[in-house]
Symmetry: C2
Subunit: 458 residues, 2 copies
């Protein structure tokens, strides 16, 4: 890796893993759980002027291991489970990943059958009124189940719901107002809880509505897509799109908990599944070489929806995201690295019109462009470019933008990116061995031009 | 005062007063300033169940005194200045009141000619881009002056402005979108600063826009009405109205500073001035008996816009508000007491249609209703009812709601008030001697009914 001036401003890792203990004696899916995570990762961050952050991880940082004990006494390391996928079926004991943000910390529950464990949700509902925000696709599949989980043996709680049209193109102010209308017509008060049931669009809109309704009410994320489970539901970024750019209006607002029932993936279309894997692959590229290598070995299992492989990919992604968010909630620098490929990707989404490509598809093409640019800058070697393209192809994701998106579109959309600071566009680029990246405005503009010309016909 | 069960949960006063030191050698209005505030107030707060907060102040709590030293060596106590208004003209040394919120603390600058001291504003602008949000009434009067203050000897900063239509009825989502449109078209980035130049509507909208644009950018309040200077610009409540109720959509979001140039009041219509005095009177009623008595002695000076009296009323109001906000930023309880008369008042504003009565006019009538209800409950004596009505009449404020607002309107609007918790409407009511109030849902419903019937024809 190229040597850079360090100002000696290291982050210290503060991710904590909660020791959780559940018991649910009356349920057939009776489980008790203890999770211990060892965080052996080493992380060094140095700042290069105000506009550049460099991130290095030890190449041999250990995979985090979780010891999960079911009431039947079976012990398993999740790392073992995944390389040799288990074939057991039925409810899997939930894993808990904590997002450590002081008095705004919250747990991410991950597992099969969690929507059949009402106490998980109910412990995070304050007050007597709940508004479930969902969409026309998810409501017929899971709304009844969620209402049941919120109200079973809980007669004091009443649940309203608002069902929005499905798709990124409805992530706008008009649709957001429907949430406020419903909340106000239902006379919800400050002690109510909003529940986001759906993918990233629903999570972002419901979260922003919760942040803004009566200047802030509780909310819970129940993500039902890989994209939302591994990325958008964790970390408190909420918001809506503006015709001129994605997520330009929103808030940092943390949920009470994130409940990931991996069973909801059973109804997810293949294309949506692949879209979510783009973000999983991103974590490997920017900060977790071991995880990337695990993905290279397990990409076929993931595409085949092997439950154990999928559960591990979700857990490891959430751990990566939780760690970054704990260190840099408001995106002072480090958190921006989670946006590898997103600046190019947003230009693709905006240029095509929201909803024509899925978010992860645009990010996949964007990551290939960022990796190409990193190579042109001499910051990574050729092998990493090939490995990136290979794994994305195996995940059936695009590795180039659509022809209709022009250089001019890229330039104009990238100019209003949130990572522009005082007129300078900062990008996330890979630098050094696999698992290392920088967030910087200090790069040769020629490399960006060359990448745009290489990938765009006009 | 009626004795109530105390749970021994006292707040401690943590308002701090900043020692400020300015020098501006090149100006004819050359001043240096030292402010010291002694906070001799005693404050006892006890909780009565979850839905009730009782607030008592020692009846003899000392007026805060500020020692202001000008470069010419004149010493004056602001309390003296006010009871014997000084006739000196020209710029008055700014007073600084701090809002103590940890790493989100900020100063309120109060004084004459502050917009002619560019360094006050410029020290709080980060980055190179500023967006001034103002309206059609204020822009012709002060926009050029503010742009000059932001840019004088400061060539790196460029200023955009967006001029909204004037009035409470434009405090809505459509108008808010114009701020986002302008910010995005101007390609502002996260390091920009929004400046609210105007009254309460502008401050609330600009603040919410700043909270939401790119998930949060810096902002500065330059309030130009008494209402905004003594109340809405301080404390970080931002938001917009919904057709079904006021301020139902918004955020708690603190500014970098509040700059109150009392010269801007020279252009304020009489009706707007009186509207602001309603909030000044409120501080006396709920928590500051000495201030209320000072107002009784000085109400004619305030109505005549005596500069020293006005400056003192603004400073003492800001101190009261800063103290409350420092103790309870997110309105867990104590802060709700600042809404004396507002629940009734919001019903009047909503019932009449936004903008027919000014906010302070509705609050004045609402305070009379709250005081009437407090008397019916046996919580205050008759004399306090009369004193309240008297001072509001002298301020040429209404002391009853308009005939067109019915009991049914009051009931339906109050049902969606932000202070409803799990279906129970909590109100701010006076209890005990002047300067004491409670925030409670525990009151005889009959008293509320009687008050509504006493004030409404139908």
């Amino acid at each position: 890796m190229a040597s850079t001036a360090s100002t000696g401003n290291p982050f210290s890792v503060s991710l904590s893993s909660r020791k959780a203990s559940f018991s649910k004696p009356s349920s057939p899916a009776e489980v008790s759980l203890r999770v211990q995570s060892s965080n052996a990762s080493s992380l060094r961050t140095s700042f290069v002027s105000n506009s550049s952050i460099e991130l290095t991880r030890g190449a041999n940082s250990a995979l985090k291991s979780s010891t999960v004990r079911s009431r039947t006494g079976i012990m398993a390391s999740s790392a073992q489970v995944v390389d040799q996928p288990s074939s057991k079926t039925g409810p899997v004991a939930p894993t808990v990943v904590d997002v450590d943000l002081g008095n705004r910390s919250y747990p991410i529950y991950i597992g099969s059958g969690l929507l059949d464990q009402p106490e998980l949700l109910q412990r995070h509902v304050h007050g007597k009124r709940v508004l479930v925000v969902t969409n026309t696709k998810v409501a017929p599949l899971y709304l009844d189940k969620v209402v049941e989980a919120l109200t079973r043996d809980n007669p004091n709680v009443s649940v309203e719901s608002v069902i929005l049209p499905d798709g990124e193109k409805y992530k706008d102010m008009d649709t957001l107002m429907k949430v406020f209308d419903k909340a106000i017509e239902s006379r919800l008060d400050r002690r109510c809880t909003f529940v986001a049931l759906g993918g990233g669009v629903i999570g972002d809109m419901c979260g922003y509505a919760a942040a803004s309704f009566l200047r802030g009410v509780n909310f819970i994320q129940i993500p039902t897509t890989v994209m939302a489970q591994v990325d958008s539901s964790v970390g408190g970024k909420t918001g809506i799109n503006h015709p001129l750019g994605k997520n330009l209006i929103g808030a940092f607002y943390q949920p009470q908990c994130v409940l990931i029932d991996t069973d909801t993936l059973n109804t997810l279309p293949d294309r949506e599944l692949a879209s979510g894997l783009a973000e999983v692959i991103k974590y490997g590229l920017i900060r977790d070489a071991d995880f990337f290598e695990w993905q290279e070995r397990n990409i076929q299992a993931l595409m085949a929806r092997d439950p154990a492989a999928m559960a591990y990919a979700i857990k490891r992604s959430c751990e990566n995201k939780a760690e970054v968010v704990s260190l840099d909630e408001k995106e002072g620098g480090l958190r921006a690295t989670l946006n590898l490929g997103h600046t190019f990707g947003h230009a693709i989404e905006t240029g095509l019109g929201y909803g024509n490509w899925l978010h992860g598809e645009a990010v996949a093409a964007g990551m290939v462009m960022a990796v190409d640019m990193s190579y042109r800058l001499g910051w990574i070697d050729d092998a990493l470019v090939k490995r990136t393209t290979n794994i994305l192809k195996q995940a059936k994701l695009p590795v180039a933008p659509p022809e209709s998106v022009t250089i001019e579109t890229f330039r104009s959309v990238m100019a209003v990116d949130k990572k522009v600071a005082d007129g300078l566009l900062r990008l996330i680029l890979l630098k050094g061995p696999l698992g290392n990246c920088v967030f910087t405005g200090e790069y040769d503009r020629k490399a960006l031009d060359e990448t745009l010309h290489a990938f765009c016909k006009s």
